[in-house]
Symmetry: C2
Subunit: 481 residues, 2 copies
């Protein structure tokens, strides 16, 4: 059974050929969106449009039905009207298609007749041995082979996989993630899950070598027992971050009319997730922030946080946030005070949070030593890497020195030191969480860290929150005694 | 006493002439930063550099001491070494300067000798009748007269005033606020508050016609009784949003070494803030988000939220978030269902959250009617204004229609409808909180709303949170029975 599933999903994510049943030249239609997204992303697969009344679709020869295509079709995307879906699925079976994505809506989520139609479609698929994504979904992608039936333009290839029961919210997660620098391996909008479910994709992504962290937006779980068993196995190796919505009665009602799912008891979900090591988040930014941290940061071996800042206010804010999230902010040992004294001017705070009092020179020496000392299990660094070069621009007209040259030297020095930092993180197996205060324009040093899977967060509070999630996952993994 | 204070602060924020004592040509020094910031922002005030050993500073004739300046000096910025500060303040007194900003650090925040020095400075100032900002601060600004001794480049003139006891964190709030579209009236980094305190600036900003919302980052309050009395008066007319840090013992320790303040009991602060209508926030993004909402949004007359979305997932997420923040998400009345039926295709959700099921056409009709109906006290709109034009670009190469033209029409239609929306918000006195899913590139419609003081938030969750703060403030103001 498992190998069958893996084989079907392999056809779904790495097809040799794809047909779009209901492909259209009319801008704005789903049949246009999907076909255009597919062909303009230049996948390694061959793409065939199926349309009864057109000779060509966006420059591609169109076929009146699947059976006319003079080639094997591994995977089909179905975007015909609701009533025509059963016939389209039957055609897929007749053609020997292995997996189909039914984008069309109007099934179980509408109740009554829609539910019946969904059962009918499922029956045809089961009988014909074809696996179904959806219906009422928005597509999928696999960046490794440039295959996109969904996803905003600009998605980069990387280690995050995403399963979303909401097509719109899935696109939103992908878009907001891309803004934050996230890069993705595979994505699927799972819709009503008439056949393939979150559990199936989860099982597949667990074995996917391109995927290091699995993320999911879930409205309802079909097979709780299987989900639990799978998650418990997977989270021992791969982090699994879940945004499970429908917590409240009002939202559960909305879930039912959205994907026809039962949201289920929230307390039960909380308990299940905790027991099987699923990292449950509340908000979209948390989902992305924690997933990004899990790509490359070592898991902390305790909850003692050392805070290093370029200014006192940041330290106070970060300390409050760490304590609010259940972390410890212990004092510096006498040894660490002496070590930091070597790098900092006399006016530094001499305590944790370490306020470097406006100096940037001792920065990297301090970070290196905080990563090394046993005083702390994680380091929260605020605003002391990534000097915002644009802040110097205004001075350029007036200053008697070349500020451009000064800024360039600063950047180069930072870039030079980043490698050493990465080596230290690995050697001491201690997370270094950076809250950038540089705004939207990222410095070369922060960009280099990002290229190495080490992301900067927006605020001191977000950085503290990320550490608290890492600590909880580390506790689950038994790394904290 | 009050008029004296107002007069001194008038000299601080609207001086006819300013001296920078310790002005420098050396890039990176405070004496350079402040003087350069001042002169490059082209204030209406005259600017004089004071420097014992230079003839000119950045092209301006320098004076060996204040008394040599052949003009009245209303305000001085002092950036000389710590030990020279008392003499500099005495010089200010002798010259008849009305207010001085002491940027220099090394006073009470360092304990012992520093505290003594601070007392000495205060004694000179009190005796000479001069008011002092700082010491250990980072400057101020008044956008109305282009006077900047602090603040990141790019600050826009607008209705927010900010008082920050942390210079670095103040700059950060200003920078992050500017990123979010916030515009500011006045700012002061209040530092150790040897003389002028948060209470003084608060009293002044309360009467400032340029200021509609007062924000503050506070580590410790000097005169709790006065603060309470002032805040209780002010919050009846002007919202006052406070980020009070040093909640935990660890952070309170950090506060002491930062600005030498006593953080005080957090429970007491909570109670005081609640009783005098201060809107207390936890995080920097909350401070800015709620302040932006208070500029123009009407206060809700209850906690019933109507949610309108472009896709089902957003509705589920927003509903959970509203409930989490103590808001109600009631059902639609039969009348509202019938009204919305006129604007939406049959497949819309027919319930609250209103899922428009992918259509954009009925958008503005729905919003208008949700603002009008008594079903709700506030509307949360997610992703249905501000169509991200860049999403259409990728289609442009392949489509047989002109997507650029299509997008342009969409934008124009949105822009045309925005005016009606603003009129409805005012007429029905109901807040319309928008969560944009358009990413960093703002659409013309969202930009136009922003020009009218109506801001879009980043996520559905942030939008819900903002409404919950508006509800609490409205309760305090007695607008919710």
């Amino acid at each position: 059974m498992k190998s069958d599933l893996a084989e079907s999903l392999q056809y779904l994510f790495c097809p040799g050929s794809v047909a779009v049943v209901g492909a259209s030249s009319t801008f704005g239609k789903w049949g246009f969106n999907i076909f255009n997204r597919l062909t303009s992303s230049h996948p390694k697969a061959k793409i065939y449009p199926v349309n009864r009344s057109a000779d060509t679709i966006l420059g591609h020869k169109a076929y009146p039905d699947l059976l006319e295509i003079p080639d094997q079709v591994d995977m089909a995307v179905i975007v015909v009207p609701t009533d025509s879906v059963p016939a389209a699925v039957q055609e897929c079976v007749d053609k020997g298609v292995k997996a189909a994505i039914i984008v069309t809506a109007g099934f179980r989520e509408t109740g009554g007749e829609g539910s019946q139609l969904e059962s009918e479609v499922l029956k045809i698929a089961r009988k014909g041995g074809i696996r179904i994504v959806g219906p009422n979904c928005m597509g999928h992608f696999n960046t490794a082979v440039d295959l996109f039936t969904a996803g905003p333009v600009g998605i980069r290839r990387g280690p995050l996989a995403l399963i979303s029961q909401s097509g719109n919210f899935g696109e939103y997660i992908l878009e907001r993630g891309t803004e934050k620098g996230a890069a993705f391996s595979k994505y699927v909008s799972s819709g009503n899950e008439a056949d393939l479910t979150v559990e199936d994709y989860l099982e597949f992504f667990a074995e996917d070598e391109e995927t290091k962290v699995i993320c999911a937006y879930i409205e309802g779980i079909k097979d709780g027992r299987r989900f639990f068993k799978l998650a418990r196995q997977i989270t021992k190796k791969k982090p699994f971050v879940v945004m499970k919505v429908g917590r409240t009665a009002e939202a559960a009602r909305a879930v039912l009319s959205h994907t026809g799912s039962l949201a289920g008891s929230d307390a039960v979900h909380d308990a299940i997730f905790r027991q099987c090591g699923v990292i449950r988040v509340e908000e979209v930014d948390e989902l992305l922030d924690i997933a990004l941290a899990l790509i490359r940061q070592p898991l902390p071996r305790g909850k003692k946080v050392g805070i290093l800042t370029a200014g006192g206010g940041f330290g106070v804010v970060a300390t409050d946030a760490c304590r609010r999230y259940g972390l410890e902010v212990p004092a510096l040992s006498e040894e660490t005070v002496q070590t930091l004294d070597k790098y900092l001017p006399p006016r530094w705070s001499h305590s944790n949070p370490v306020d470097m009092a406006g100096t940037f020179e001792g920065n990297f020496g301090c970070i290196g030593n905080l990563l090394k000392t046993d005083d702390f299990d994680a380091i929260l660094l605020i605003g002391s890497i990534g000097f915002p070069i644009e802040r110097l621009d205004y001075a350029a007209t007036m200053a008697e020195i070349d500020t451009g040259e000064y800024a360039k030297k600063l950047m180069e020095e930072e870039l030079r030191l980043v490698d050493g930092l990465i080596e230290r993180i690995d050697r001491h197996q201690k997370p270094l969480i950076i809250s950038s205060i540089a705004g939207v324009n990222k410095s070369p040093a922060l960009a280099k860290l990002e290229d190495n899977g080490l992301y900067a967060y927006r605020t001191p509070e977000d950085g503290a929150k990320v550490i608290s999630y890492l600590v909880r996952y580390s506790e689950y993994r038994g790394l904290i005694k």
